[in-house]
Symmetry: C2
Amino acid sequence: MEKDKKRISIAVDMDGVLADTETHFIRYYEKETGEKIDPDSMKGIPENEAFPDKTAVQRFVRMPGFFRTLPLIPGGVDAIRTLMEDFDVYIVSAAMEFPLSLFEKKEWLEEYFPFISWQHIVFCGDKRIIRTDYLIDDHLKNLDHFQGVSIMFTASHNIHYSHHQRLNNWEEIVQYFKKLC
Amino acid sequence: MEKDKKRISIAVDMDGVLADTETHFIRYYEKETGEKIDPDSMKGIPENEAFPDKTAVQRFVRMPGFFRTLPLIPGGVDAIRTLMEDFDVYIVSAAMEFPLSLFEKKEWLEEYFPFISWQHIVFCGDKRIIRTDYLIDDHLKNLDHFQGVSIMFTASHNIHYSHHQRLNNWEEIVQYFKKLC
């Protein structure tokens, strides 16, 4: 059975799923403007529009160092290690929009997820050409066009959508996949 | 019909298909050792083993600048532009093995293929998770596990294999796909 289980593949998004972009945006914004944004005020609002200065997010993601210094989403490292025992796990990030992020994202993964081989990392643009059985992602633009089973990882910006299976944290994700074993 | 044709997707490898790695290896080798390798002597031999110093290729691909300065395979730019009129074309490169190459490959594509959007570029490790209808590649390790239609682009190292549809140059590839329109 071990071999069959291994064949189930899971694509895991980075930003908002493994890396805590929301907290990072808030920190960058406070550092730049002195204004501390309440995370609760961001609920149900696209990230770009969640800050008084609507150009801030697009500016931050183009700053050298932004992606290299992202904090972790709690539980992600242990959960990926656990999932890898039974599934083929791929990290799939739409990194191509920001060329500077490519190397930073690779270094970030090497720091926090050194147990993931380069064979299992994908930096792409449009995720609809990814052929895995599952996709864990926080963005509709990725989940809506995925041809396997989509799992929406809860983020402030996606709380009002319900047309994908929602899981709220890495503990729930591990529980969900344990049932498939 | 236009819409249906657009749905056919083609993944195109970079090294050995769009970028002339073979010529580049020969030039690097001559620059380093003074020895000029005859391209004919490389036929049927894996790239790693085609040079007297068997460590050369693995050393060259780790040198800053190697991927940024690759020459073009003749006809590739015009062929990709032509294919994009009727198909969804994705550039899919196993760039993840050499993190330094990520930024260089992105810059190289921006120089020679500025008409390809970031949404259509994929840097990955294992290509078996790519979901396109076709894959044009020179390496068996990619073609053998692809689940769509595989097309082997002729390179010195692959001339003795015949279990994939072989096309020898970009002119033949354009002719092949024109028949699908």
